[in-house]
């Protein structure tokens, strides 16, 4: 989910913004466009997303047991 290095090295998020991941978008907003607030907002959304997915996976696995 939090892939960054490959995107940075291979395409720098291009062409346009087609291959940006969430984390690359965070990096781009926060450090290239120096908009820390937006970067933090992306980070928080990403955490929420991760937690939701984790909960789903946990439930799925628990049901299997």
């Amino acid at each position: 989910m939090s892939q960054f290095a490959h995107v940075r090295i291979m395409t720098s998020g291009g062409p346009g913004d087609a291959s940006r991941t969430v984390i690359y978008q965070l990096y781009y907003k926060a450090f290239s466009a120096s908009n820390y607030g937006q970067g933090c907002a992306i980070a928080i959304l990403f955490v929420i997303e991760c937690i939701i997915i984790t909960v789903f996976i946990n439930k799925f696995v628990a049901r299997k047991k």
Partner: protein, 275 residues
């Protein structure tokens, strides 16, 4: 009869997978021996003659030794800090009874869910505020903090399975709590420590994101970021030198793996039976 064909099919698929994993490596080695024009004339075949000039040029322009020492400094100090603090903390939550024990454990476990990348902005502002930006410590501390959670959980699982009698014997023989920990418990969890060392070393040595953002200074760059910078500075024109630099960079890891591959494989499978 049918199982035989299935077996052969599986083998063919596995061989194809293996080749696809090995091909970049072969290509990298191949590139490093080719001259500038030969890369374009003959991209896939073996080089006409093996010349090592690429390596010398790459070593001249690519400050390998500095980046390598930086990488080693990061991984070794992270290992020391994490193992020391992590084992003590795990001992605390597995063997002592105190009020917020469960809370502390789940707080540490939270570190597994939150990825490093998400908290990069607070880390950056914090390191700037404390004045650690541009020093080695500014990278070591976040590394240690993020290695801590998996380390503590693993040690916790290890400590839980140890018999209580060990400590009782130590107590009867007159050890205080620190002596019990360092003389009795620490040697007992040595296999877990070795596993953690291998895991943390691989993580930190290959780490890119934090180093890319916090290690803006050339003096504190680890190998991964240094390689990217070399890549950018040389452009895409001279693939031979890039290949040589990549080979030089990956040599230490390959050597470490050849020496300790059993340990590393044990480390990777130990993570699976954590719980």
């Amino acid at each position: 009869m049918e199982t035989k064909t299935v077996n052969i099919l599986i083998k063919i698929i596995l061989i194809l997978l293996g080749v696809s994993f090995l091909f970049p490596l072969y290509w990298m080695i191949n590139l490093s021996f080719k001259t500038k024009s030969e890369v374009y004339d003959n991209p896939f075949g073996l080089p006409h003659q093996f010349n090592f000039t690429n390596y010398f040029d790459a070593l001249e322009k690519f400050n390998f030794l500095r980046y390598f020492t930086n990488s080693i400094i990061y991984s070794v100090s992270t290992i020391v800090i994490t193992v020391l603090i992590g084992s003590m903390f795990a001992y605390c939550i597995s063997r002592m009874t105190w009020k917020f024990k469960g809370f502390a454990l789940s707080y540490i476990a939270l570190g597994l869910i939150i990825p490093v990348q998400v908290v990069i902005i607070p880390i950056l502002t914090m390191t700037k505020a404390i004045g650690l930006k541009g020093t080695h410590l500014g990278l070591i501390l976040p590394y240690a903090a993020f290695s801590l959670s998996s380390c503590v959980l693993m040690f916790y699982a290890f400590f839980r399975n140890l018999p209580m009698e060990l400590e009782e014997a130590a107590c009867i023989d007159g050890c205080n709590i620190y002596q019990t920990f360092f003389r009795i418990m620490f040697p007992v969890i040595k296999p877990a420590i070795a596993t953690q060392c291998a895991l943390i070393f691989m993580n930190i040595y290959n780490e890119f994101f934090l180093a890319f953002i916090l290690g803006a200074d050339d003096k504190i760059r680890p190998l991964t970021v240094g390689l990217l910078n070399f890549f950018v500075s040389i452009g895409v024109s001279h693939w031979g030198q890039i290949g040589a630099a990549m080979i030089i960079t990956s040599l230490p890891t390959i050597i470490v793996y050849l020496i300790g591959n059993e340990q590393i494989e044990n480390a990777l499978t130990a993570g699976a039976i954590l719980k």
